[in-house]
Symmetry: C2
């Protein structure tokens, strides 16, 4: 809406664009405060700022990337992180051949130093680009070192304490969203 040059919006319009009811929009927002006045709607720039603050995407998050294979290399070279609030600051691998080499401007560090590094630097988010067979054991180490959120590229289902959040990059799920429409 900002890109469209709009200044004010309403819970009706937000609901329409998001596929939710206006009541749901008002209820959800009311959990976090008051963002508009009855009858005058929401100032879009102000609302966007507040949502970014609430979702904590108004800051720069440091990320540890584990796995420096083809996928790790692609992730390290991905150009879409920094300007959207995320920054890879450390890359780890277990392969002695890779340790000390560079990918995407990052030196590959020994996974043996990972837990101590993460504790010291207080990194809270990790991306997992390791083989499926290694994903759980690496996850256990990450969680023990204080990682609170993991983005997993491996086709596995990870077990973590309830306080740790996991999201999966699952291309098959994305493909399954589309097959219904293919004739």
């Amino acid at each position: 809406m900002i890109a469209e040059g709009k200044v004010i919006t309403s819970s009706q319009e937000l609901g329409q664009r998001l596929g939710l009811s206006s009541a749901q929009i008002r209820k959800d927002l009311s959990q976090f405060g008051e963002f508009g006045k009855q009858g005058t709607g929401y100032n879009i720039t102000f609302l966007a700022e507040q949502l970014r603050r609430i979702l904590k995407v108004d800051q720069l998050w440091n990320i540890a990337l584990v796995g420096a294979g083809d996928l790790g290399r692609a992730v390290a070279n991905y150009g879409g992180f920094f300007d959207r609030g995320f920054r890879i600051t450390k890359v780890y691998d277990i392969d002695p051949q890779k340790i000390g080499q560079r990918i995407g401007g990052f030196i590959i560090h020994d996974v043996a130093s990972m837990a101590a590094d993460i504790r010291k630097t207080k990194i809270k988010i990790a991306m997992l680009a390791v083989p499926a067979a290694d994903a759980q054991s690496v996850t256990d180490k990450l969680v023990e070192a204080g990682i609170q959120a993991i983005l997993c590229y491996a086709p596995v289902s990870l077990k973590v304490p309830e306080s740790v959040k996991i999201q999966y990059i699952d291309p098959v799920l994305r493909l399954q969203h589309m097959t219904y429409y293919v004739s």
Copy 2:
């Protein structure tokens, strides 16, 4: 539920597990037929089969992969496709150095032959692992050749006719789902 050994479920239980109302579950299913009897609930195996048929994920879909860089290589080697109904059958790249080489068991073909190949083999789904700057022009060629669904790994927003479905692999969106919970 099948894995849990359950045999029968209800719209209430389905709604609860999916975060939807039981009325929504009944309404959605009724669009496609009758899958249970009033008062006796749904046979889970039968319902799952019917849903797989409706969503067309009960068949094997051939996929063209475009882009054989680090990411394309990782996608070609990804082990999670085949047993979930998808199979990469062709890989394309524009780089003369790569054409004729192999990744993940596939020969890399010249992107110049892509449109004719896709028309001939009637492949309907493509995965895009090309640089962001090339994504739109490759997409235009794919759509013209008859591709109806595209899974895009590049951090761009593609323009396609309304009949063509697009899904994006967006790691930043996944990360943004978690930051709220990180302290």
